[in-house]
């Protein structure tokens, strides 16, 4: 790789100050599983690399039945994958971070890193958005938070200011009677970039859908909330026919492109198939 300055700040404040000083020519290094690939493939040429793994307090993964889940910036996807609380209460996220890469990468990659990379085919983004996750940003001018849905602004683009880092992600506690599922479409069983991803969180009371989140990955410049599909289900009694209708609506919500992995038509068709299957799987969890 081309040479860069390597920095190891000891605090968030120091990290922010460094980011500001480097004026947009610095990259943050946590897991490194995206950054190093981007540098090697010349998609990014940072003059400075800031390793944030020495900063204390960012490696906390904790769950509270009222507050929900807290994922620190340095929490690896492997920790999230193996957490009992995540598997129980955020099954779609657990699935997404299990399917997305090899064990070698999962031992290193961070959920926050995956979010900040903001790849259109990122697996973790869809369940996070479906569950209304929030990112918490730290900057020289203070902290702020926003929904992940708003944080990702385009392919590979986020709302991060030059001096800002994400310190953690929080996800609200799930409502009772909520089932979750994430299905990823990829030609091989593992080691795949999603050609389509569908995350579903659905809350059902007495056969009635009181709340639902359906988010699509890899069929738009950023993760897409399938609002039409959600509208079909929310507030209605569930039936196979309604689920099928929602799946068709999701196909309309999708904005897929054609590339070397798949054609737009095929992706759209798979959105329908996967949405139907994901809803069914989420309902089975109830």
């Amino acid at each position: 790789m081309r040479a860069f300055e390597y920095l190891e700040p000891a605090t968030l404040a120091e990290a922010s100050a460094l980011l500001q000083r480097c004026g947009g020519r610095a990259s943050v290094l946590a897991g490194g599983t995206d950054l190093l690939v981007q540098i090697k493939e010349s998609h990014r040429q940072p003059a400075h690399v800031i390793n944030i793994k020495k900063i204390p307090g960012m490696d906390v993964l904790s769950f509270d039945p009222a507050e929900g889940l807290r994922i620190g910036a340095l929490v690896t996807t492997r920790e999230v994958e193996t957490s009992y609380a995540v598997r129980r209460h955020y099954a779609s996220l657990a699935r997404a971070v299990t399917d997305f890469a090899s064990i070698q990468v999962r031992n290193r990659a961070t959920v926050v890193g995956n979010v900040c990379r903001a790849s259109p085919s990122a697996d973790s983004l869809a369940p996070l958005i479906a569950d209304r996750a929030e990112v918490h940003l730290y900057g020289l001018h203070g902290s702020r938070s926003m929904p992940v849905e708003a944080f990702v602004t385009g392919p590979g683009k986020t709302a991060l200011g030059v001096d800002e880092l994400v310190s953690r992600i929080t996800i609200p506690a799930p409502a009772p009677h909520t089932g979750k599922a994430y299905l990823k479409h990829g030609r091989r069983v593992q080691m795949e970039l999603a050609t389509v991803g569908v995350a579903v969180s659905i809350t059902v009371e007495r056969g009635h859908c009181t709340d639902v989140g359906i988010v699509l990955a890899a069929v738009g410049p950023k993760p897409l909330r399938a609002t039409k599909a959600e509208g079909v289900l929310r507030g209605h009694s569930l039936s196979d026919a309604l689920i099928l209708q929602a799946a068709h609506a999701a196909m309309e919500d999708a904005r897929p492109i054609t590339d070397v992995r798949a054609s737009a038509e095929y992706r759209r068709e798979m959105v329908g198939v996967l949405t139907r299957r994901a809803i069914a799987q989420a309902l089975e969890m109830l």
Partner: protein, 761 residues
Amino acid sequence: MTHAVIGHSVKRTDLLDKVTGNAKYVADMPMAGLLHAKMKRSNVAHARIVRIDTSAALALPGVKAVLTHENVPRVLHAGSPHPRSASVTCDQYILDDKVRYWGEGVAAVAAISEEIAARAVEMIEVEYEPLPAAFTVEDAAAPGATLIHDREPGGNLVLPPVRIERGDVERGFAEADFILEGEYEGGRPTPAYMEPNVLTCRWDGNGNLTVWISTQTAFMVRGIMAEVLGLPLHKVRVLVDHMGGGFGAKQDLFQSEFLCALLARETHRPVRMEYTREETFTGGRTRHPAKIWLRQGFRNDGTITAREAKVVFNSGAYGSHGPGVTNVGTAAMVSLYRCENVRLEGRCVYTNSPIAGAFRGYGVVQTYYALDIQMDEAAERLGIDPAELKLKNAVREGDIAPSNHPLIGHGLEACIEKGMEVVDWKAARARTLQQQGVIRRGWGIGCEMHGSSAYPGIKEQGNAIVKMNEDGTVVLLTGAAGLGTGAHTALAQIVAEELAIPFDTVSVVHGDTDVVPWDIGAFASHTTYMVGRAAQMAATEIKTQLLARAAKQMEAEPSQLVIDNGVMSVVGRDGPTLTVREAVMPRKGLPAAQFVGTATYHPTKSYSFAAHFAEVEVDTETGFITVKQVVPVHDIGKVIHPVAAAGQIEGGIQQGIGHTLYEDYQIDMQTGRSLNANFVDYKMPLAMDMPEIRTVLLEAAPDPGGPFGAKGVGEDPIVAIGPAIANAVFDAIGVRFRHYPIKPEQVLQALAAKRAAEVAA
């Protein structure tokens, strides 16, 4: 008959170093003063180089030399110069003032680090004058198309069309009860070996060049480098120790080898060039994409009256193994299923695409995909079991093979029958008829045959030198390459078996062109058959010398002695024995023996056979095809090392599943740019995608031309698995695919078309 050493899966001698990380591959070898070389590659598919400016690169600190077409020798040469073979296409320069495919090398840099070399490469400026590019064989072969190479026979053909005829095709078609005709197409898989191409070159003060290289053909590397660099052979030494896979594609020279040597000569330092993974695609070799038009006449009893086929192979930008692949792939179609009246034509066409070269299966993967699937179509037409039909038509003892020799034994029939029994074929197929639901399963059979040796295209020879040390241990010197197949272990087993000595008393010396006898290289599934036979013959010479010396000591005639596990006794005598060691060692008044045996074997050809039985699962909503289980049944004559043979079969199946369902190296059809030169988007089946494989090895038709009757196995598995999968898909969902790779979207489209046709009917 059980043997003492062969037929047993002895512990391979190379594996300890491999599992401990001690095995040194070329990139592992430290060298004082080593420089690192990188190539600059074109970003246009067809263009003249108008200007190339290396001044900025040369000025970068740490850069020691830069080469372009302006300062390298201009020597027209062939990249795969098997002597006296059909495979010689003299169409390459080290660097030309023209590029013919996207990614072709236009310059090379040597620097003190890879990073500096990479930066220097970016600083080289090239101005191109684009030329019209042709990416399809249709465009390239069209009248008036721009010539990619200005050479005979013209028309962007790599070689004159190959034409083969037997019998009377017109009469055959006239006698047919029905005729099947179809077009079949093969895509562009690549070998994707795990060790990227790499070599190190170093000159000494006397103008001797040493080359450490990952190659299957050390003597070819020596020969062609000597020719192009203008050196006699004894001044070029090629060393190959461990290499990380080749599958055929490391059987070629193109640019990097010469450039590395020239950089080393100019800088007076050793230079290493290591491909990136991306370069193994852009600078490597692919399988030849192919189109096969096949027409056959059948009687109602299922026998074939006539066969006519036209094959067109896409050579990519250079000829490489085009002639060999065209000859072998086309000629293969005279056989496999019996037919007396055959007319075949094979062509190979230049296009401005990635270079196609040698890859396991060598043209036969493509042509047998068509031939076997059409047989399945005939079974469908006749309403009979495809396995029964293939059994009926399978070539057998006495039938004339593509090499124009009669076949030995009933190997293919044995494979088909055995496989039908193992998978309970009839019951398995009956079950697939009853299915409902989204997920469908099906069973298919694919058959193949493949020759051990490149005869008659190449007049090959296997050489071996065996010497016995004064303690009775033995050394085999062989030029046979160690790709990782376990070849050297098998050769040592053969020598040990022939001499009736323990396996662990035989060692193998290989991989140094200054020391070992000439070898054509590891390909064409010929190492066990050809070099093994030579090793056996050389061992026999030693045995004769050994028995003569021992006979004197044992007061008997040589013909009365037997050796068993290194111990000699006299037949019919209950007396003392003599070990081999005792027989050869020095004694008072008797010097140590110095036994050396040499042998050269000119093989003709032997054929191995296989029938693969595959079960697939099709998800009719996503179009995904998954292979659930494979029972590959192989006749390879005498099995020397069962585990190594099974390893070849299972590995070949992985590659074949990849070809058929997953792998395709694609280019942009407007610009020729590589679209998936990486492991993310060039998808090989991984551990979780592989089926259960239950390998069955038969010794149904041993070939007396091979050592102890052994034949080859390396290429057979990759040929049989493809049609087995395609035919299984037909069994599962009633849709016939005649191409590979079969993509999920195509499955959905075909299913939709089938539903629409059923509704309309």
